[in-house]
């Protein structure tokens, strides 16, 4: 047995040079970690810059919901008071945190899609041969995705402001950590799913089985008391849905309040999803190991 990295942790088709580098890994200087992080974030940034349509479409989706769907459900006579709101609000105001959740949900799933794409084109291999630990590579990729999501969120907030969705200005500051944390939770869920999706074509399944149920069975569109009136079972599902808690965390933060249970649940789910994603991408245990014999 070697004292260095056990060879079972490396994919069987890892190039000899990388294998040697990994086996000789004594610990890396900070600059090496930074170079790696910068490389991953920069690649994501380039991808983002080159795919402006993706940015626009990610914005158009929640805006359509805000301008058209919310108009249909406008409830011109006001939505009943529900925390954290202190008075009556219009439906547009209610739905906004849910739409931010939608941005982050789609963004997280889009990242998962891009990982499947990377795997198909082979560029993921280039990433994974980095001698830095796997968890760091995955977290960096996640951070890059979340950064894009945060940017989309604030552009959406800016447009919604003109649509009379005007939380207190301090809310825009308080909501930032909640958006980042929710972005990490949904991004790591996407990453976990990407380890299960074998082909790009299967992404439609992710849409139907993950995005839509998560979005609709949550407090994004309707207050939970109203869901409870309609169906106690659906209410239970909404409560079990981590997306509900991400939306509520952001909703409270937007009005300068902390929703501790939501924070706990979102933190817990982020840890579990990210842990599982790292495990799934672990060459010794996860999908990579299972795929290795047939993979080419």
């Amino acid at each position: 047995m070697s004292a260095t990295l056990p060879s079972r942790d490396l994919p069987r088709d890892t190039p000899a040079g990388a294998r040697q580098a990994a086996e000789e890994r004594p610990g890396f200087p900070l600059v090496a970690w930074m170079i790696c992080l910068k490389g991953i974030v920069w690649r994501e940034a380039l991808r983002f810059l080159h795919q402006r349509e993706r940015f626009v479409s990610a914005l158009v989706r929640p805006l359509l919901w805000l301008f058209i769907f919310a108009a249909g459900f406008r409830q011109v006579l006001g939505v009943s008071i529900v925390a954290p709101y202190k008075t009556y609000i219009l439906y547009e105001v209610y739905i906004t945190p849910g739409l931010v959740g939608m941005i982050l949900l789609f963004n997280g799933m889009q990242s998962s899609l891009s990982m499947v794409y990377d795997r198909e084109t082979g560029s993921m291999k280039t990433l994974l041969v980095s001698p830095l630990p796997r968890w760091f590579l995955l977290s960096s990729k996640l951070a890059a995705g979340v950064a894009v999501g945060v940017l989309q969120t604030y552009v959406f907030f800016a447009i919604a402001w003109f649509w009379d969705v005007r939380p207190p200005w301090t809310g825009y500051l308080f909501v930032a950590p909640a958006v980042i944390l929710s972005g990490f939770m949904l991004g790591s869920l996407g990453m976990l799913l990407s380890s299960l999706v074998k082909q790009l074509e299967n992404f439609a399944g992710v849409m139907n089985f993950v995005i839509f149920p998560m979005y609709f069975a949550s407090s994004a569109l309707y207050p939970l008391w109203r869901v409870q009136e309609a169906s106690p079972l659906l209410y239970r599902l909404c409560q079990l849905n981590p997306f509900t808690h991400a939306v509520e965390l952001m909703r409270f933060a937007l009005y300068g309040q902390m929703n501790w249970p939501a924070l706990g649940i979102v933190l817990g789910c982020t840890t579990v999803f990210l842990g599982l994603a790292i495990l799934a991408y672990d060459p010794g245990r996860g999908i990579m190991a299972r795929r290795a014999p047939g993979a080419g």
């Binding site: 011109v76 202190k86 008075t87």
Partner: protein, 329 residues
Amino acid sequence: MRNWTLGALVAALGLSAAGPAHAYKIFVSNERGNDITVLDGTSFQVIDTFAVGQRPRGIAVSPDGAKLFVCASDDDTIQVYSTADYKFLGTLPSGPDPELLVVSPDGTRLYAANEDDNLVTVIDLTTGARVVEIPVGVEPEGMGISPDGQTIVNTSETTNMAHFIDRDSQQIVANVLVDSRPRFAQYKADGSEVWVSAEIGGTVAVIDAASKAIKHTVSFEVPGLRSESIQPVGVRITDDGSKAYVALGPANRVAVVDGKTYEVLDYLLVGQRVWQLAFSPDGKHLFTTNGISNDISVIDVENDEVTQSVQVGQQPWGVAVADVPATTN
């Protein structure tokens, strides 16, 4: 210089955030609950509730802030309570079914509209006796008084008129035809105009106080709402006359109207069936009674923003503010 600017900024922020605590109480009559809810004017929290007569509607505070007058409509009387400890002080001979009342600025007289008897009852507050009953139109309701106390305006719901009553002669000196079902009359602080809301007509008539001619008719339109839902009731005008607030009943909105151009500036979403309004003594807040949602909404007057809604009793109807320290006994 920088320190000075910073200091000023901190001071300004401190003032706007906390503000010097201006102690006052908010009284809300609960038409179905047969009680009065008392709220603290600093925290806007309910500090007390006390039982009054049957079907309390119009309420007013004496100019010195010491007494609260409550129209107990189904008891056919006006009850008087202490604003400090809510003790019952007595009743006033209002005549049957008093609905709205107004107290003269010098605190010597009280004018009440008797909805069922087509009368305005004048009560001397120094003796507590009825002075005279003035016949007006059918179903009198709204009561307004000029800042000098010389002219009293009553609106009659079925006759669709604003009746101008002279204080000294106790006679109607002018009748102004307004839109259907006039509910409320409010003078500007400078006495130049009277604003009369018409519930069914959906308008507010701005009447020139001197010529008694309608200068302008304000109408309202809320996108997405049928015009029948827009029923103007309570009206309040800021002391400087720059803005007027009109409660729009089942539209769940308070309209903000420019006091000079009469243009509607904004519609503020409040609770259900917003009825009457009252300013805080410093004029910084406006309170609305929301009859169906059983709460009051608090409006920040400077920013025209609804900051919160607070649950009160059953079917809140009238609201009055007393400039007395909000300490419970």
